[in-house]
Symmetry: C2
């Protein structure tokens, strides 16, 4: 039996439907002056409709509607067009849906700057040209080398994996393309050959090879490499057959299946459209093609606790002696995190009993695409008590309850890595946002000196050291929108014992502070931070304490890129474990679609949100939380990194928000006493 | 179908059987010169057989036997006698079992010091006298006050909870006894009345009340309080009926049961005596009455990885304005952690399908006691993939496997708190040791000024700030006993781009170090510690890297007690996140039975293990790991602290120990590819 009712108002946060995508696409195509192509292999020199995604309503309007005070906000789409003919990118807002009839260029409003065309994501159209270019300019000219070194020819090619950023300064679009054996798990089969392609021009005729890297040496031109190879003046790589160590094929037959989950009396949660009910919880959800999964209007016993909880960015900085990876800094939302939320496998990615939801996306494609079973929702038995007490002093009794919680999950396979994203809803009123990494590591060819950057994990293969930083947006509204940012910690104070005045003792005391400006509340990594961080209300609970939610961050993050580096501005959110800003509709994300390819001059520099140092005293606050881990790859990362130990996240816990633990009212509670 | 066979040699680590306890007890009773009592309410002035527990074999002897090279080590028991008649405590080793015929005083060998009688744990015998004393000296004299303030009389009493340590210097045994309403969850019903009892003398006739605390004021004698109360010159507490907010009774009827675990094809693990087999894992286990659960000879695919993994100590330091809790520092192994491993409840504490094991203990009792179902062992579906990768670039395929792991659990309810202890065995070769806290917080009466030490959580009740520190002993033997301690981390180094020599970039590099002495390898809290800590072998894996296990510590610990405090020496293990020592049989534990009651001059001061600063280069190493969390109680700790977010632990992960991830050989692996 469900508590509460589904609420169709959650649809203000729903992703666009297939029909809506098509309507927007049609509308854009009828704007003849924009001259837009929707062809999958549109060239960079043309105008390409890259993305259609929900344009989120303004918070005030959404709340007013949700709370029954205002009308339904106008439903609109964001459309991103790569204007190859003009040399810029534009973002349009198109609406109202259904039946859009207007569009508005919002580029300047959103980013306060024009977006140069080279800030764009590499599209499938551009990749097609790049493959063509590599075939014509590299492969066709190095037949002997490729055959002898890698055993490839026109029937059997190498795979490619690109390194980013593409250059060293704004405007650059020079990509080190690394080559890998054509196998599953190609990412751990580097061959020691990399090519620097300059594809700055939108005209592919102007592209050129700027440098080549082969077995540790650099060459200025394909011709130079070819010549030196043929005259025998390069260290040659001699092809060698290798076992298929990247394969995920089982080496053993299934013997006896492991523990399974089952719902003896049916599901205790319900999913209707984009609205979820689970015991005392309700929330709306969506999946942005760019930033990934998100929930809105999260309520517990009917009271809104979180306006928005969303994935923002996944970033990695790599180290290597090989040229591509030496500079590699991946910013995944520029490629699209949600874009890669593929089908989840029952019994592995989610329990068999989970509810699976399809999603529809429109990104770098000629039309909307359906992604079957790309979200899963299930209640899980965590295998431990949520709380319990056994007593045989004075009173013999036992009370407890098992920890069953709702998991909302997507897994995004962005190239080599698979990130598993979980939002977990506990019966205590806590919500957890977690990420775990699995999939293949990125690797490089083991040239001399490269062992300073990682460990060897296979024949001639180095698993490269790298960081993982993940950013979550946590827009808690604790007992209303007006909140403060509070910290709590301990401190030993010297006390005289009242019953023994000549004796002193150091006694722990509670230290509470309120941080009142954005700069104060931007808590950097590697600084001593108070142990308890709270978004609090000035309203109090029954015992007179400010109602609050605590942010408990789980992270094993490595060092953030030094701010002296030009690329750092695109990832400035990663400076902070937690940063608190005053909510603004125009500060929707900590990163952007343009951060990767214009990394030196990003459309969104998160640190700017803080630079105006606004008051955060009794304002609508947003917490931006960064978790991550340092990854020093090791043999056990072959074939795949495992989830155990490779993750991070944040637990949002009620702290004097309630008057007592709400799980005391759970029907799962168990109690025994003698007689 | 099980892999491997059970091995009876694991019995060298088995707890004593009921028969063995009785044999040792009988043997001790026949030593007439020792004049020992086994009466449950033996008086402090008499000689009491407090404890019988397994005396662990020497590691060299055990290994030689386990590895088929030596004979079975002599089986022996440790016996602790509180010699009230002599004023000291003795530890004896009694053996061989079965049929012991000798005993040996090992006190000096083990502790290098005599053990004064007041270092002893308060026994049930002493408690009986304390209750009697309080009735005669306090209750019977304060009838009016007790009735008016607390509504108690001779038929309806207050409960007590003692604070520790018992005084401020060695030899002290002066206990602040705090009074609580007689309800389940008494710990959160303090009444504002505390009495300082001097019970230093083993003769209860010499005990006295030294001070009283009532509603914030101190009184020298019972008579003084009585008199001032009657003349109306004290602030009176007026009894008030309060709701039963500490009750764990469900407030709701069960509606629909939550998710359950089931083994569709039976258990994939087996427990025989004290030996467990699970897929590639095997291990022996035991439960010490003092330190709690432990496993030995942990092997993966037949190769020993861990010689011993054990709980060592659970410590808490409290802050308060009230006299008892002002000084409170609990060291649970002095009361007995394993002692309180009670029956686990199916479906709450462990899944229904778990295997439950009975244990037998002999501590502060007239004979051995059976604790039914006090250990549980189960395989759990963790609700997430252990690893997975989905690919639609170049190769369409999916490979993954669900994370099923074996959990070995006890829950120890030591007074107010319940600690849940988990050792988890993963299919990746990782082992995790975790602890979560639940049960009741300790609380104090809300006198003026007390809010500096916590938050109010109920009517006139303060939840007091405190730390939780937990110590684990991790005796990894990585590819043999001779190991080194290695650290790994990252560092940004400035590099010139070889293809662009005028351009520099900061690139992450791997930094490896070996710490060669115990002092170097004693890693303090609040110091910057390398992110990766490894117990490594000089033997290498296939790729030439030292085989190692990494210790990944999860902790939210508060500040450790300053070393200036006399009490700190008893808990000096808590100075360090991780400390590495050279293994010694005589350095079996980081704490001792005597740490609580002789806290100022402890029998075991862990820091001494490090003081001789021995070489840890290619030696048998032991890692002592401290995890914990700062607990600032809040309304949601009522009635019970919840496990979610309140824990810590350590994950032991293979790192270049294998040549690839061993889970690739799991029969749970799943693979799909198109066609
Ligand atoms: Ca701002
Ligand atoms: Ca907010
Ligand atoms: Ca030593
Ligand atoms: Ca060892
Ligand atoms: Cu990684
Ligand atoms: Cu606690």
């Amino acid at each position: 039996p469900l508590r509460g009712k589904h609420d169709e108002r959650s649809l203000v946060f729903a992703d666009l439907t297939q029909e809506e995508y098509l309507q927007v696409q049609q509308y854009m195509l009828t704007q003849k002056d924009l001259n837009i192509s929707i062809n999958q292999i549109t060239k960079p020199s043309q105008n390409f409709l890259f993305l259609i995604d929900l344009s989120l309503p303004k918070k005030a309007e959404a709340l007013s509607y949700l709370d029954g005070k205002g009308s339904k906000p106008r439903r609109e789409a964001t459309v991103v067009v790569f204007h190859g003919t003009k040399g810029y990118i534009k973002e349009y807002v198109v609406g109202p849906l259904p039946k859009p009839n207007t569009h508005r260029d919002v580029t300047l409003e959103r980013y306060k700057t024009e977006l140069p065309i080279n800030a764009r994501t590499v599209t499938i159209g551009e990749y097609a040209l790049l493959f063509k270019f590599l075939t014509a300019e590299v492969f066709s000219k190095l037949g002997k080398l490729l055959k002898e070194s890698f055993d490839v020819d026109k029937d059997k090619m190498l795979d490619i994996f690109e390194q980013m950023p593409r250059g060293v300064r704004s405007g650059d679009r020079k990509t080190w393309v690394s080559f890998f054996r054509d196998r599953s798990g190609l990412y751990i089969h580097p061959v020691g050959f990399e090519v620097l392609v300059n594809h700055e021009s939108v005209k592919e005729q102007e592209w050129k090879v700027e440098r080549l890297f082969y077995n540790g040496d650099y060459f200025d031109t394909v011709e130079q490499l070819r010549q030196k190879y043929e005259e025998g003046s390069v260290k040659k790589i001699v092809y060698k057959e290798l076992p298929d160590y990247g394969s995920l094929k089982p080496r053993t037959k299934p013997l006896q299946i492991g523990p399974q989950l089952f719902y003896a009396e049916g599901k205790r949660f319900s999913v209707s459209k984009n609205h979820v009910l689970y015991l005392d919880w309700s929330f709306a959800f969506g999946l942005s093609s760019l930033t990934g999964m998100r929930v809105f209007d999260v309520r517990f016993k009917g009271e809104r606790i979180i306006y928005e909880l969303s994935v923002q960015e996944a970033m990695s900085v790599y180290g290597s002696l090989t040229p591509g990876m030496m500079l590699t800094k991946f910013l995944d939302s520029s490629i699209g995190i949600g874009r890669f939320a593929h089908e989840l496998v029952r019994g592995v990615d989610c329990p068999h009993e989970a509810t699976f939801v399809d999603t529809y996306r429109y990104i770098d494609a000629p039309g909307p695409i359906r992604y079957r079973n790309s979200i899963c929702i299930f209640e899980h038995n965590m295998g431990q008590p949520l709380r319990r007490h056994f007593s045989d002093f004075f009173h013999n009794s036992y009370g407890g309850m098992v920890n069953s919680a709702l998991v909302f999950r997507t897994i995004t396979a962005i190239g080599n890595y698979d990130y598993m994203w979980d939002f977990i809803f506990y019966q205590t009123g806590s919500v957890e946002a977690k990420v775990h990494a699995t999939g293949y590591i990125s690797s490089s060819y083991l040239v001399e000196g490269n062992l300073k950057f990682g460990h060897q994990v296979a024949d001639k293969v180095l698993g490269n050291i790298h960081t993982h930083f993940i950013n979550f947006k946590v827009d808690l509204d604790v007992s209303g929108m007006k909140n403060v940012f509070q910290t709590k910690d301990m401190e030993y104070v010297n006390m005289t014992l009242p019953w023994m005045p000549d004796h002193h003792a150091k006694v722990p005391q509670l230290v509470e502070k309120q941080l009142k400006t954005e700069k104060e509340a931007a808590l950097r990594h590697n600084t001593k931070t108070p142990r308890y961080l709270h978004i609090a209300s000035n309203k109090t609970n029954r015992w007179g304490h400010q109602r609050s939610y605590r942010l408990q961050v789980y992270s094993f993050a490595g060092d953030h890129l030094p701010e002296s580096e030009a690329e750092e501005r695109s990832m400035s959110w990663a400076r902070y474990k937690v940063a608190i800003t005053k909510h603004k509709d125009l500060e929707q994300t900590s990163s952007s679609l343009y951060s990767q390819n214009n990394i030196w001059n990003p459309a969104v520099d998160f640190s700017k949100y803080i630079e105006d140092n606004e008051s955060i005293d009794n304002e609508d606050l947003v917490a931006w939380v960064t978790a991550g881990f340092l990854h020093i790859p090791h043999a056990e990362d072959i074939p795949n990194t495992v989830t155990v130990g490779n993750g991070g996240g944040v637990l949002l816990r009620p702290h004097n928000y309630f008057d007592e633990d709400p799980s005391i009212h759970s029907a799962d509670a168990v109690y025994f006493s003698p007689g």
